[in-house]
């Protein structure tokens, strides 16, 4: 365990030195602030809690941005160190390969959590300071959104490590990472929509739809944040959420499986790898 913490601390140290932490936090904060102030303008005084609107707009943003940040952070983790030659030296130390991956995971997750918490937190804080009334329900939804955003980030960090273990070169890993991002964030949903259009209103068996939504971690995240409470009415996801049997618990579990499975596969492959 101590080795894992040593590696994690080094990743964080490096992240701070490379301005990675600063850059991602500022990026998320800037976008969150923009969305929360521009986004609250059109609603006027219709009795909707402004923070709910922020939750809706921020989670839509998260679906694009957080996986991208996570993949950029993680795709290089193994293959990059291999190529630079630092991995060889590291593995000659009394440390297991699993510990290396778990340590990196912990470090990268900490960086991403920090950026999400403070970047998005800035938006909530700004709303509070400008005198907007925030109900405790909305605050809870906001906290849940930050938590699940970190989970979504963790999913893509884990996927990034798997890519990084499989790829023989950094550039390959980068290419695969972009492909994976495009697939989960854009292509998958477009294909799903296309499929529904082709089906011409023939009702899809609801079990199949549920499965299709859980298989993509970004959809699980979307449903988790936009499928309940005030957000569902605002985002129009309520209609879909009403159709599925997916409870928040199942969605959370789906995200957890999406973290554990790639991470396990990555550590197993990395442990067997010949240097």
């Amino acid at each position: 365990m101590k080795n894992i913490l040593i590696i994690a601390a080094k990743e964080i140290q490096e992240g701070m030195r490379n301005r990675w932490v600063l850059a991602t936090t500022l990026l998320l904060a800037a976008l969150a602030l923009t969305l929360s102030f521009l986004g609250s303008a059109p609603t006027g005084n219709v009795g909707v809690d402004p923070l709910d609107i922020v939750v809706v707009s921020l989670s839509s943003l998260t679906i694009f941005l957080v996986p991208l940040i996570a993949l950029v952070l993680s795709h290089d983790a193994i293959v990059g160190e291999m190529e630079r030659g630092t991995m060889l030296l590291l593995l000659s130390y009394p440390i297991g390969r699993r510990q290396v991956i778990f340590g990196k995971f912990l470090g990268h997750l900490a960086i991403l959590s920090f950026a999400t918490l403070f970047g998005y937190g800035a938006a909530a804080l700004a709303l509070a300071i400008t005198g907007t009334a925030i109900s405790s329900d909305s605050l809870l939804a906001f906290a849940a959104m930050i938590g699940s955003s970190v989970l979504l980030g963790a999913v893509f960090i884990a996927i990034g490590y798997l890519i990084s273990t499989l790829a023989a070169e950094r550039s390959t890993a980068g290419g695969i990472a972009i492909g994976i991002w495009l697939f989960f964030v854009l292509i998958y949903d477009m294909a799903l929509l296309g499929g529904l259009v082709v089906a011409q209103g023939k009702p899809l068996p609801s079990g199949l739809l549920d499965l299709l939504l859980v298989v993509n971690p970004t959809d699980a995240y979307r449903l988790l944040n936009l499928g309940s409470g005030n957000a569902s009415a605002l985002s129009g996801m309520g209609g879909l959420a009403g159709q599925t049997a997916l409870s928040p618990l199942i969605l959370l579990l789906a995200l957890l499986v999406w973290i554990i499975a790639p991470l396990t596969l990555a550590t197993t492959l990395f442990s067997r790898r010949e240097l």
Binding site: I6, K10, G85, S92, P94, I95, G96, L275
Partner: protein, 305 residues
């Protein structure tokens, strides 16, 4: 002498390439051994086997009595390793880098300052990012991390490649200091010449096989390479005046001659040549260089018992 590393009939394949075929040797406490071979001869693979980074496909590797590739890697606590063309995390400073490796080895970080002094890494450089380091400084930092925790075995993979002669010399002085502490030092290199007087023993590998193993004296003897004796003749004298007609003299320049002679005939020939001091004005005895010995073993694949 206690063996710290023993490799028995080890073999290792990467796909279809047999990087190491059948190699056996032992390294003893306090011994400095040079592992010499061409690029791609299997030196780095052997070092990786000793580190437990890869598992042998055949045979066994024992380091300090244990298999380095299994268990809780306790063996690696007592190992120091300097990889070929070592690299570090560019954004961290030298001090942070060494502190990171010290933590992994559970060594008191306070030891770091003494190590920086020992490897000659200047104080003002220690707190600069590694990105700004020259090759020599990086190599010093590499050596500092290898020396963490007073290792019993030091594996140095081409430690002097790319260093300037002054640095190289300093580097070997450091190695000499370490020898006296009972550390086993394995130096890999593709140049034998610079290892003269530095290594107790030389192991030559070629094409994944051990081509020779012994002290430099042993290797010289086994190779039976001729010593070359060169003379400069005095004015008006010729080869016949030398009185050494058993040797075949070869003209190498204006009034210089050279003969190759087997080790056992060397003294006799020298005696003959110097019997008439008036005939010659100069005399050189050229023992076979280490590179000659090396080339001989690589060409002939002579196996030593």
């Amino acid at each position: 002498m206690t063996a710290t590393v023993s490799i028995t009939d080890a073999g290792k394949c990467y796909g279809k390439v047999e990087a190491v075929k059948h190699v056996s040797f032992t390294l003893n406490e306090g011994e400095t051994v040079a592992l010499v071979g061409h690029n791609g001869a299997g030196k780095t693979t052997l070092i990786k086997l000793m580190l437990g980074l890869i598992r042998p496909g055949r045979g066994s590797v024992r380091v300090l009595g244990e298999d380095p590739a299994t268990g809780d890697f306790a063996v690696r606590q007592r190992l120091g390793y300097l990889p070929e063309s070592v690299s570090f995390h560019m954004a961290l400073t030298g001090r942070e880098t060494l502190a990171f490796y010290a933590r992994l080895k559970r060594v008191d970080i306070g030891e770091g300052n003494a190590l920086f002094e020992r490897v000659g890494l200047a104080n003002e450089a220690v707190d600069r990012p590694v990105r700004t380091y020259s090759k020599g400084m990086r190599q010093r930092l590499g050596l500092a991390q290898a020396l963490l925790g007073q290792p019993r075995i030091l594996l140095l993979d081409e430690p002097t490649s790319g260093l300037d002669p002054a640095l190289r010399r300093q580097f070997y002085d450091l190695i000499t200091d370490l020898r006296s502490t009972g550390t086993t030092i394995l130096l890999s290199s593709h140049a034998l010449t610079e290892l003269e007087d530095r290594a107790d023993r030389v192991i030559i590998v070629n094409g994944g096989l051990k081509a020779a193993d012994g002290t430099l004296e042993d290797l010289r003897r086994l190779a039976r390479l001729p010593t070359r004796i060169g003379v400069t003749l005095a004015d008006g004298k010729n080869a016949a005046d030398l009185g050494a007609s058993d040797a075949t003299w070869r003209t190498t320049g204006d009034r210089t001659l050279e003969a190759a002679v087997q080790p056992e005939n060397k003294i006799a020939l020298l005696h003959q040549v110097t019997a008439h001091p008036a005939v010659i004005t100069g005399l050189h005895v050229m023992e076979p260089s280490l590179d000659d010995v090396y080339a001989h073993f690589l060409a002939g694949q002579v196996k030593t018992p």
